[in-house]
Symmetry: C2
Subunit: 243 residues, 2 copies
């Protein structure tokens, strides 16, 4: 049985303009690896209704899960809920349970639940809420699409609430060997080794450090014994000259 | 006249697995902003031929430029050139000018130009080379697709060689106002202000720091005078209580 597959959709002009360096994708990638859900694709689109809608439609066809980040706050540029509702062809309205979460939060903090904040209680029809222990305004899951906040602390809290509810696969394991030779010296033997382990993936990541070329070879897969065996063979092919 | 548009395609299992945090996308986003080329979408796909090919086909239809990062080294998992050639339906072979660049580089460094390294001289028919002053192996441009290395130092050098050859637009300018209020307090007035400046984009990025909520409001666009005027109005709406 193969692992569940996933895609991520990051919504945010601030990342495409170079102002902000995305953190949520890197975080989610690590969490999904640990749970054996294979992240196959990420898309980053700007805050434009049609772009978000079309990306949701495209990604949810091809993957078991789609995780989105960003665009569910109270301001005019927060249009993710509208675009996701459009992608599913369902309505979007303020929902009582979401409103109650916000009302309790703002009562506690002494702030007004004004019209802008109430936008965060708009949930597409048929969605399930995702808990937000940081700032109350919930995310939601509709079909196989999980809609979460862009603020990293909130995104991470929502991921922590959501992931245990999803079917896990075999965690992706990996081992890395650092080889003090140029990638071009490694390539032929590495390719031959990779061909004998079709169930594993062999990545080769070159570096140039202190005037020396080298590469980190990463062997990944769900079969720990095969990774061990391949790593032993790799170490024999490229023994550490300092050892 | 509107700015040229761009998409980026990042190729790399190591990013999707959470092992590596992407740096090239953030770098390119900043460089494109400075040149007035609007980065509209980024996709990150794994090292799978069909995924790379299909993403190239999809992205080059909708944008003036597509920039790719990763997968052009000497190892078995470097399959970007093959996938791009397939996307354009052209052949891929070792080209004399690319081979000469590699031969000169390896002669200088005393290393062998072996079969694996020669893979890096395989260039799709009809492509133009992109200079690589770091490690010689060239990138290439075919049609509106610009194929560059994944190692950040090499990627950045290739971007520096390529960008001056592309038509520039009006640089995206931006100003930021830090407002010490929750996003929900800002939202209504900000939305009304944004509606009066349709040529600008208004982003609101909340933060939670030292127990206080606040937001950075970023006004972006190519019209510097309009940004100035909108920023003055924003400062009047939300005066700094400490000033």
């Amino acid at each position: 049985m193969s692992n569940p597959t996933a895609a991520m959709l990051v919504i945010g002009d601030e990342i495409l303009s170079g102002r902000t360096r995305d953190a949520n994708m890197h975080y989610l990638a690590g969490e999904l690896s640990d749970r054996g859900i294979d992240l196959c694709e990420v898309r980053i689109v700007s805050d434009v209704h049609e772009r978000i809608r079309d990306a949701v439609i495209a990604l949810r066809e091809g993957h078991d899960h789609v995780f989105t980040s960003g665009g569910i706050g109270p301001t005019h540029d927060d249009i993710t809920a509208d675009a996701v509702a459009a992608a599913f062809g369902v309505g979007l309205g303020v929902r009582d349970d979401a409103r109650a979460l916000l009302a309790a939060h703002y009562a506690r903090t002494g702030l007004e639940l004004n019209a802008a904040r109430l936008r965060m209680a708009r949930i597409p029809e048929g969605a399930a809420l995702i808990d937000n222990p940081v700032s109350a305004a919930p995310g939601f899951s509709i079909g196989n699409v999980h809609v979460m906040a862009g603020v990293p602390a909130v995104f991470q809290a929502m991921v922590a609430a959501l992931l245990p509810t999803l079917e896990a696969g075999k965690p992706l394991m990996s081992q890395t060997l650092r080889i003090e030779r140029g990638e071009g010296e490694i390539a032929e033997a590495l390719g031959a080794l990779a061909a004998t382990y079709p169930q594993l993936s062999f990545g080769c990541y070159p570096f140039f450090l202190d005037g020396r070329y080298g590469a980190n070879v990463v062997i990944r897969g769900a079969d720990g014994a095969a990774i061990d065996a391949a790593m032993v063979r790799l170490s024999e092919l490229f023994p550490d000259p300092a050892a």
